[in-house]
């Protein structure tokens, strides 16, 4: 058995299992939990890689169809079928990827009936739908070739040429329209990526990427299946790719030069370095490598050279559609592991389907014959007992199926236990209050300043603490707000069950809170205030009872505490400062702000 292939497939199955777990989480807890996207970066890895990159990676389908069936370069015939199959699976992957990324995926079919011809995305949606259909028609002949449905097979064969031409027409449109998508955001896309020729460049780069992807894929399959690489075809493709990549490079650099932006590439910022890196691996390096005949004769070197532009152009899509926009929005975005997992899982799924079709249908008829012969021989072989595992897992595909499904389930379990269930909000602990005269509240400018000393004076002495400090810790006279309301935006738990069990005397003490005989549900449980009545401050105007297991978000708690009092004070005062306005607290240059900095100075002096 081919060990390389088994290991490779094992990895793919594990990735698929992990992605399946994340998929469950994505649909159970929403985009917020599964991604690091935000309002400043609404598009991330799933659009950049799965959609923008996926469509471009699948460009090999139309490039090879044109090369073999229109230009009649018969030398490349062996690569045509795998390329078309890749394209079909690739576009399928784009559709699946979109289902994850769309906020309302069940409306994915809406572009069919709701039209907006002014939107490039509308055009892309239609082209992808139509092209997926076209690709299905292109794939149908080699699925049907060795089945009993020969009439149908001949029908699809006759259809092949017009279908291929239609496929090329559709590809031209949507490959370039992916570039048009970005034309409307000159304010977001970095100037090094933005040009009026984005559609043309996307089309040209799709052809390059298509060619390189075909080479890369041919290399990887011959390595995995231990076949003799088709060096003549590969070196021919390399020659074409060198020309195409060279053209793309000149196009890009020339366009920047004409726009007068070339100097920006050498600014030294990380965005400009990213650009230089991209140009290096999509243009300079592969063009040089592909034009060396020594490289074109070596399988390993060719494989390496082909992988560079594949990476580079995918990076270009990711950069243009998201990463480079950090320049404008000043926001930080790095994909969550769950995002990577879905992207990798979709690629793995595609690769596995590709292998399956390759092993059972005549994508490459000669190789299929060889593989079937190998399978027949394996069936006749006597069973072998593995001394290492001490388990007999069966032979041939039965053994593989057991290994793969176990890995899939293991990865699924790992994924289910690790995937985040809550939205990634900025973690914002509330301000520590103990020992401060003036508090600075909030997470960023503009802050609210709360002058504790002044409020103390206004409320006449110590007896008035309870006006705000509604609940205190044991031995405390005024527990700071932040010790219970610990998070700015999220409620924090107040009740520690273990602590109560321990303090009240272990298992025997259940009855002291939970009604005897009942199950320990909340309904049959005493409220906190039935024991802690004395800990509550009696004269607090807002919170009079202690019966919640959680302290609300800090922000909400303060608003609830401050506003009613301010409204009342305002009514009592009659005229003067309007205390009901938000600006009383939420403002710059308030008295409390000055008091805060004064206090800060004082503290510094005392420390010295």
């Amino acid at each position: 058995m081919n060990k390389r292939l088994v290991i490779f497939k094992s990895i793919l199955w594990s990735l698929a299992g992990l992605a399946a777990a994340v998929a469950v989480m994505r649909f159970a807890f929403g985009l917020g939990a599964a991604t690091n996207l935000s309002d400043s970066t609404p598009w991330g890895l799933w659009i950049g890689f799965d959609v923008m990159g996926g469509v471009a990676l699948a460009a090999g389908g139309f490039v090879m169809a044109a090369l073999v069936h229109i230009f009649h370069r018969d030398k490349y015939h062996p690569a045509a079928r795998p390329a078309i199959l890749t394209a079909f699976l690739g576009y399928g992957a784009v559709a699946v990827g979109l289902l994850f990324d769309l906020g309302l995926p069940w409306n994915i079919w809406h572009p069919m009936i709701f039209w907006n011809i002014h939107s490039p995305l509308f055009e892309v949606a239609w082209c992808v739908m139509l092209y997926l259909t076209v690709l299905a028609l292109e794939v149908a002949p080699f699925i049907l070739e060795r089945t009993p449905f020969q009439k149908l097979y001949r029908f699809f064969r006759k259809l092949a040429l017009p279908v291929m031409i239609l496929g090329i027409m559709l590809s031209t449109l949507h490959q370039s329209s992916l570039g048009s998508l970005l034309l409307i955001m000159p304010f977001r896309v970095h100037p090094l990526w933005y040009t009026h020729f984005l559609p043309e460049f996307f089309f040209a780069s799709a052809i390059c990427l298509g060619l390189c992807m075909v080479m890369f894929e041919s290399c990887i399959t011959s390595w995995l299946y231990r076949r003799k690489p088709e060096m003549e075809m590969l070196s021919g493709l390399a020659k074409i790719a060198a020309w195409a990549l060279g053209f793309c490079l000149l196009f890009r650099v020339g366009d920047l030069a004409v726009q007068g932006k070339l100097s920006m590439a050498f600014e030294g910022s990380w965005v400009s370095n990213l650009f230089l890196f991209e140009v290096m691996i999509t243009g300079l390096l592969p063009v040089v490598l592909f034009s060396l005949s020594a490289v074109r004769r070596s399988f390993g070197a060719l494989w390496f050279a082909a992988s560079l532009p594949v990476l580079g152009f995918v990076l270009h899509r990711i950069n243009a559609s998201g990463l480079s926009q950090v320049w404008a929005t000043d926001a930080f975005y790095f994909p969550a592991w769950t995002e990577f997992s879905i992207s990798l899982g979709i690629v793995s799924g595609c690769a596995l389907v590709f292998f399956f079709i390759q092993e059972h249908f005549p994508v490459d008829p000669h190789e299929l014959d060889a593989m079937e012969e190998e399978r027949r021989r394996a069936d006749r072989r006597t069973p072998e007992f593995s001394p290492f595992s001490q388990i007999w897992l069966g032979e041939g595909w039965r053994k593989d199926a057991k290994v793969y499904s176990m890995l899939f389930i293991l990865a699924l379990a790992v994924g289910l236990s690790l995937a985040p269930r809550e939205s990634a909000v900025a973690s914002m602990p509330a301000e520590e209050g103990r020992g401060r005269d003036v508090l600075r509240l909030g997470v960023a400018e503009p802050f609210v300043y709360f002058d504790h000393t002044r409020h103390q004076k206004l409320n006449v002495g110590r007896e008035s603490c309870g006006v705000c400090h509604h609940l205190n810790r044991v031995g405390d006279l005024g527990t700071p707000c932040a010790e219970c309301h610990r998070s700015m935006y999220e409620p924090s738990p107040l009740f520690d069950h273990d602590h109560h069990v321990e303090k009240l005397g272990g298992n025997d003490s259940c009855d002291r809170c939970h009604e005897p005989g009942s199950r320990a549900h909340l309904a049959a449980t005493k409220t906190c205030s039935s024991c802690h009545e004395k800990d509550m401050m009696a004269d607090n105007p807002v919170v009079r009872k202690f019966d919640s297991l959680e302290a609300g978000p800090y922000k909400e708690a303060l608003h609830k505490m401050c506003i009613p009092c301010h409204v009342k004070m305002d009514e009592l005062k009659g005229e003067g400062e309007n205390l009901q306005l938000c600006g009383t607290c939420h403002d710059r240059g308030t008295k409390s702000e000055a008091a805060f900095f004064e206090w800060l100075e004082r503290r510094k002096r005392n420390e010295q």
Binding site: S40, G103, P105, N116, S176, I184, A328, H586
Partner: protein, 268 residues
């Protein structure tokens, strides 16, 4: 409802009380609690439950941020399904039943206005809709924000009136104001105008100069209008090349003899 409704905000008159925010929430029935900001986002004051906000700038300057209701809105132009609509009267509104959640509108907007309900399982795009439904049905005479402004810093009227009012104020006190009406010409003109004593370029992702006066949708349309020609052109080109090469092969084949041609035909 008046044609081309417009909001004029005079930054010099705003005291930063946020009554407009409260008015907006009340008029649109939005949850009073603000959703926490997402990790890594640029804090911009707006959120899915806060369609307008006050930005506090140095020296007690307060600038209200909201949807501009552009005359030729980029968000409407990019929406593949037309879930965002420029109404015949002027306000830009959103229809959730059509939306598929691609979030292209959020990227297309030069001011970063549309916000998303990231924590929802069926999220909507949220932004100011100029209280369109309420204005149309006659429940409100003007949007919740302008009617609740205690200092008349933000006022409501038709675009022509508001533009005339803005220019009148600029002329009356030329030393007080920066001589520019933000929104008059930016990205083809917007239905929310600003006059101010400080430059307001921070309101967009880029300065108004960078955005230009050309409506943004024109940038994509110049590429999109070529689509039918590209489509047909590519088809003709490919068919032509196929025909020429096939013909040449046939001629070469018949010159070499019948025998070879038949051999080639079986080869796909």
């Amino acid at each position: 409802m008046i044609q081309n409704p417009c909001i004029l905000t005079d930054v010099t008159k705003c005291i930063g009380c946020e009554a407009c925010v409260a008015g907006c929430k009340k008029a649109n029935g939005i949850d009073l609690r603000d959703v926490p900001p997402r990790k890594g986002a640029t804090p911009d004051g707006l959120s899915a439950t806060r369609w307008t906000t006050i930005l506090r700038k140095q020296d007690n300057h307060y600038v209200r941020k909201q949807c501009r209701h552009c005359l030729e809105p980029a968000c409407v132009s990019v929406c593949p399904v037309g879930a965002l609509v420029k109404t015949p009267e002027g306000p830009v509104v959103y229809d959730k039943s059509v939306c598929m959640g691609c979030r292209y509108c959020m990227l297309g907007c030069p001011y970063g206005i549309p916000h998303y309900e990231w924590n929802s399982l069926a999220p909507s795009v949220r932004k100011c809709v100029m209280c369109y439904e309420n204005l149309k049905s006659g429940d409100l005479e003007q949007p919740g924000c302008t009617s609740s402004c205690p200092t008349k810093a933000t006022i409501f009227g038709s675009r022509d009136e508001m533009l005339a009012e803005a220019k009148r104020r600029l002329d009356a006190e030329p030393d007080k104001y920066v001589q520019h009406v933000w929104g008059e010409k930016e990205v083809g003109g917007t239905s929310v105008l600003y006059i101010s004593d400080i430059p307001l370029d921070f309101l967009g992702w880029q300065s108004g100069e960078h955005l230009g006066h050309e409506p943004l949708p024109a940038k994509t349309w110049s590429a999109l209008k070529a689509v039918p020609y590209e489509f047909v052109g590519m088809g003709v080109l490919m068919t032509g090349i196929y025909w020429i090469i096939e013909r040449r092969r046939q001629l070469a084949g018949s010159a070499a003899g019948e025998h070879e041609e038949r051999g080639e035909e079986t080869d796909e």
